[in-house]
């Protein structure tokens, strides 16, 4: 007589949560391809490359652009979704490189994406609310 738990057939298959992570990864992939080059080129590298002046990136203009309601789209498209995109690839990369696999690695990867996304949204919301 066997009482091994693994031998009892599962009546309902466990639903995978992969579609959620893959959708976020895929949406992030579109954003990385469409938005990231523009922001990297003009904002992060704009001054060193001579494409924009420091005057063009002045505090008043950037504050008005970023903390505008449409700036939330930038936070989502250039930070939140790319974070889920990156952590999805790192999660699978850790498995591919045989560095880590299983629950803990998955929790750490997607957990850090959630944490950093929350930080970005919180930074944006506190200033946006304060400036009305």
């Amino acid at each position: 007589m066997r009482t091994n738990k693994q031998d009892t057939p599962q009546t309902t298959p466990r639903r995978s949560d992969e579609p959620i992570w893959w959708s976020l990864f895929s949406a992030g992939g579109v954003c990385v391809a469409m938005l990231v080059p523009a922001i990297a080129l003009l904002v992060l590298l704009g001054i060193p490359l001579g494409l924009v002046s420091a005057e063009q990136l002045n505090y008043q203009r950037l504050q008005a652009l970023v903390f505008h309601p449409l700036g939330l789209g930038v936070v989502l498209g250039a930070m939140v979704l790319p974070l889920f995109h990156a952590m999805h690839r790192i999660h699978h990369g850790l498995h591919d490189l045989k560095l880590a696999h299983g629950r803990l690695a998955k929790w750490l990867c997607y957990g850090s994406a959630v944490l950093l996304s929350s930080l970005a949204l919180w930074l944006w919301l506190t200033v946006s609310m304060a400036s009305g």
């Binding site: 990385v32 990297a40 690839r89 930074l123």
Partner: protein
């Protein structure tokens, strides 16, 4: 069940053994500089919320050689990712009009045109037109 199925050994260096595997790993690796890009934006968002002095400090930080190097790497990585990603679209979702399928090269070019349009739009938002008159 006491079967012992044969499990072929799989060393961690498996991906070095074929050009296609190396290409796959290179594409996966594009997210490492991407994380630096997101960190740069997080710092920028924080600095912008702190006030003007903090923002000027951030602009100076962006011009440090090591920051320029890592952000350049992030830019190249995002373009490489875009190149691989845009090629997928005509394969995953071919657009058909009647009996005709939109050629793959046209769909890929349209996506690159989109990238260029976003760059121009952001340049315009940053007052590029006024600044260069």
């Amino acid at each position: 069940m006491s079967r012992k199925p044969y499990q072929p050994p799989m060393p961690a260096s498996w991906w070095l053994k074929h050009p296609a595997y190396r290409f796959y790993m290179l594409r996966e690796a594009t997210v490492v500089p991407l994380l630096f890009f997101v960190a740069s934006l997080l710092y920028g968002l924080y600095a912008l919320g702190q006030g003007e002095a903090s923002w000027l400090h951030y602009l100076a930080w962006l011009q440090q050689p090591w920051v320029i190097a890592l952000n350049s790497l992030a830019l190249v990585a995002s373009l490489f990712h875009a190149w691989t990603f845009f090629a997928l679209f005509p394969q995953v979702m071919p657009l058909r009009f009647g009996s005709r399928t939109l050629p793959a090269w046209l769909m890929v070019s349209a996506q690159w045109a989109g990238v260029l349009l976003v760059i121009l739009a952001l340049w315009w938002l940053l007052g590029g037109v006024d600044a260069h008159q």
